[in-house]
């Protein structure tokens, strides 16, 4: 009896620590939100947007068989409000009509541009420039994976900053302005990231997202809430103390010179984006260089969230394996005072995040089993479940509130009601699904069934529609 309660207490304490930490992050996220607000609202910032002070940015779009979405994505990027912009599409040996679609849409012609970077990559077959828009460069290369394609883009880029994006994203018109602002304000900035939201359900006009709506499809709506929690609370919190470990590969701005210095993306890494950030930390700490990784909560990027459970499973499996792999490679950072807050707080937090599915699974399986065998009193079981559910619901509700106060992205009451419903309903089925996929990722990782750095290829249902 005693051991079973002790075991249950350990599981619940782990979960309470995880959710409790998330609750604490909300308060600090709110403070950070306030700090970031002036970056968009002050008239001097608006003057800066109109001027030419902001550094040049090359947007690298690695693409593999993206015939359906690539032209739309490039149009969306070329329409950004940014003076010094270069768009580099890297076709990673696409076997569909990606290159032909681009040739048709942008009148490509062979270019005199040649890679100037020093990263070793698969061979480049040809470089094209556009007769329609001089800012566009298209590279055709042998297949080598997403990380390799990004490295080619870094080599080709001529600008001090490079932005890595996915081929299925849509950017807010001012996303780049907000993303580059920290580089102007804080000279030691080496990378920035912005907010990623699912584009599912959003209203588009001329390749632009004009209004957010929570999708009617329950699976997609759950993911909207998840993204809101991660970016509306998590990233803002880590920004308070320069503690970012994740800058998404779908939307991350980097200092090009630094990327060349550290050897670019690792082509064999499972989660090349997390691994890159961990390597940046290690490199700069080793060199004792002051640096800053910033998060701009006003830089918005929309990506398509998976529409089906198998696609969601693949995505979560990849993410979790990426996190596990990076934490394993860079385990020396954990609880290491040399790395400051990153070592003392961020890495331990992500270790807890890694263990959270196992703890939750134990909670869902072992506690009822203990109750069934009579080892755990029913009142205790009910208490554990109630507190766990209420705590995580609080985090979701706080994320919805912060989002409403800061962005007002979902203006209709029905959308907020749907999000609240999702916060309550995700405990029945959805959370268990994601726990299963994340655990599967861990098991597969240790059974050496690693996913290589590869291309995600979920069904592009929304984009396939005319």
């Amino acid at each position: 009896m005693t051991w079973s309660i002790a075991f249950a207490a350990v599981v619940v304490a782990g979960l309470a620590l995880y959710h409790g930490f998330n609750l604490v992050t909300i308060a600090l996220a709110a403070v950070e939100m306030r700090r970031q607000r002036w970056m968009t609202s002050h008239p001097a910032v608006r003057a800066l947007e109109e001027g030419r002070l902001l550094p040049g940015v090359a947007v690298i779009v690695p693409a593999y068989n993206e015939q359906v979405s690539i032209v739309r994505t490039v149009h969306s990027i070329l329409r950004l409000a940014y003076a010094d912009l270069q768009v580099i599409v890297v076709s990673d040996g696409s076997t569909d009509g990606t290159l032909q679609a681009l040739t048709r849409a942008f009148a490509l012609r062979p270019s005199l541009d040649a890679p100037s970077g020093t990263l070793s990559t698969q061979s480049v077959r040809a470089v094209f420039s556009s007769a329609v828009d001089a800012r566009l460069v298209v590279v055709d290369k042998r297949n080598g994976g997403k990380a390799d394609a990004l490295n080619v883009g870094i080599n080709i880029a001529r600008t001090p900053l490079v932005l890595a994006v996915d081929a299925d994203i849509a950017l807010d018109r001012k996303a780049l302005l907000h993303l580059t602002m920290p580089f102007v304000l804080y000279p030691d900035t080496v990378a920035t990231s912005g907010v990623i939201r699912p584009s599912n359900g959003c209203v588009r006009r001329r390749e632009r997202i004009v209004r957010g709506e929570v999708p009617g499809h329950l699976l997609e709506a759950f993911q909207v809430l998840e993204y809101m929690r991660a970016y509306g609370v998590g990233r803002l919190f880590f920004n308070r103390f320069n503690g970012h470990l994740i800058i998404s590969g779908a939307f991350g701005l980097f200092d090009r010179e630094l990327l060349l210095e550290i050897g670019g993306y690792q082509t064999h890494a499972v989660g090349e984006d997390i691994e890159l950030v961990a390597r940046i930390h290690r490199h700069l700490v080793a060199q004792q260089r002051p640096y800053r990784l910033e998060f701009s909560s006003h830089a918005l990027c929309f990506t398509e969230a998976p529409h089906s459970l198998p696609d969601l499973g693949k995505q979560r499996l990849r993410w979790h394996q990426g996190l596990l792999s990076t934490l394993r490679i860079h385990r020396a950072m954990a609880l290491n005072r040399r790395f400051g807050w990153i070592g003392l707080l961020t890495v331990p937090y992500f270790v807890l995040e890694l263990a959270a599915p196992a703890l939750e699974a134990l909670g869902w399986l072992v506690l009822p089993a203990l109750w069934w065998t009579g080892a755990l009193p029913p009142a205790m079981l009910a208490l554990f479940v109630a507190v766990g559910v209420l705590m995580s619901t609080s985090v979701s509700l706080a994320a919805i509130l912060l989002d409403a106060l800061q962005f007002n992205h979902f203006r209709r009451s029905i959308d907020r009601a749907r999000l609240i419903a999702c916060a309550l309903l995700e405990h029945i089925g959805y959370r268990q699904c994601t726990i299963y996929y994340r655990l599967k990722g861990i098991v597969r990782y240790y059974s050496s069934i690693h996913l290589k750095s590869s291309w995600k290829s979920p069904t592009r249902a929304a984009q396939a529609a005319p």
């Binding site: 002050h42 800066l48 001027g51 030419r52 062979p110 804080y186 208490l383 509700l397 509130l401 609240i420």
Partner: protein, 399 residues
């Protein structure tokens, strides 16, 4: 289930959050209104503070006693009243380097306003330190109306500054304000800068802005600089839409000219009919060095003129290009590898329907290195060509 205080606490928290979400829109509106009211109040205080004649001293003192929002508001007001108080540029510029980011940004805006509204202040060198120079150059970029004579003079001085960061910022400002033409001499001096990135940027700006009058300057630069710099210059020239290539023809065809090879390279940056004809003539020159340079120039000019997908290959009955005729003749007859390699590259970009057959026809008698280039060239044509041409290439390869 026993009612536990933890459950009560979290239930209350969730309920409070639900209520806050329900009233989020009016809450957000009231926050925005309160913020605007606070800013207005600050601006009024700043305006009052700045009516005192010694306001510059106040600004300096402000970094200590006055709260940061008021400092920002004062700077903002200083920018708005730029025409009256422009003598304090140095004080403002100094603030750019030491103040917190928000203050720095607003101070930069104020400096930019003063420079654009009171050009005579921009040439005031009393500011002295290179940190201030950098701040002022950066501030220049904030305003699109910085193309005044005074601003140009300001940039000229910044281009000659000792601090490389100031020179870099000045080059960027020149690019942003399109003032390269007025600063050509200064840019030429920067082509020989100690720092490679400054050299390359200067070359790119010269290449883009060069006109007929700058031909001798370009010939001089092409001779005096390394291969990377030449490539940058020529690429920039090929992107600019100017008749410089036509002007360079005479120098390219003059056998006695020392700058002949440079002139041929410039001819290759144009896609004009006369330029193509001149290159075709030069491809028959006795000197292999000239033939090689002409082949490189042919490749460059054909790349500029590359048509949209497959259109040229499909037009079999179109009048034949003399330049391509010469390239086809050379690919069949030329024996010197240094000439053949650029010829193959040029043909690959020609888009001519005879090119694949000519390239693949040479494979049997080619060295391994040349064979690789011949296949690469054919592949490039096949990749961009219309399906009909791709079929033609595959027919040739099949046997």
């Amino acid at each position: 289930m026993p009612w536990h205080p933890a459950i009560t606490a979290f239930l209350l928290l969730d309920l409070a959050l639900l209520v806050a979400i329900a009233f989020a829109t009016p809450l957000r509106r009231s926050i925005v209104v309160a913020r605007r009211r606070r800013e207005r109040r600050l601006r009024m205080r700043a305006a009052v503070a700045l009516t005192v004649p010694s306001w510059a001293a106040d600004l300096n003192a402000a970094s200590g006693a006055v709260p940061p929002p008021l400092v920002s508001a004062m700077l903002w007001q200083a920018g708005r009243d730029a025409n009256e108080h422009c003598g304090v540029l140095a004080e403002l510029s100094a603030k750019l380097e030491v103040a917190p980011p928000r203050t720095r940004l607003i101070a930069a805006w104020a400096v930019a306003r003063i420079i654009s509204r009171c050009p005579h202040v921009a040439t005031d060198r009393s500011a002295g330190s290179s940190a201030n120079e950098l701040a002022q150059v950066r501030a220049l970029m904030l305003t699109s109306g910085a193309g005044t004579a005074a601003a140009t003079e300001h940039l000229r001085q910044a281009l000659a500054a000792e601090n490389p960061a100031v020179r870099r910022a000045a080059l960027r400002a020149v690019e942003c304000t399109d003032s390269s033409t007025a600063l050509m001499d200064d840019l030429e001096r920067r082509v020989h800068d100690r720092h490679p990135d400054i050299r390359l940027t200067a070359a790119r700006l010269i290449g883009r802005a060069a006109t007929d009058r700058d031909l001798s300057r370009l010939l001089r630069l092409l001779v005096a600089t390394d291969a990377g710099m030449q490539q940058t210059l020529l690429t920039a020239m090929s992107r600019a839409d100017q008749p410089l290539a036509v002007k360079a023809i005479a120098a390219a065809e003059d056998p006695s000219s020392a700058d002949r090879l440079s002139a041929i390279a410039i001819v290759g940056t144009g896609s004009d009919g006369r330029a193509r004809q001149a290159i075709a003539t030069l491809l028959r020159d006795r000197d292999p060095g000239v033939r090689s340079a002409a082949a490189v120039a042919a490749g460059r000019t054909l790349r500029i003129g590359w048509p949209m997908k497959g259109s040229a290959l499909a037009a079999a009955d179109a009048p034949r290009d003399r330049l391509v005729d010469q390239l086809l003749r050379l690919v069949a007859e030329e024996s010197i590898a240094a000439v053949l390699h650029p010829v193959v590259q040029a043909l690959a970009c020609s888009g001519d329907d005879r090119a694949p057959a000519a390239l693949l026809g040479r494979i049997s008698s080619a060295s391994p290195a040349l064979r690789e280039r011949l296949i690469e060239g054919s592949a490039l044509i096949a990749q961009l060509a219309a399906p009909v041409a791709r079929v033609a290439v595959s027919t040739l390869v099949a046997p």
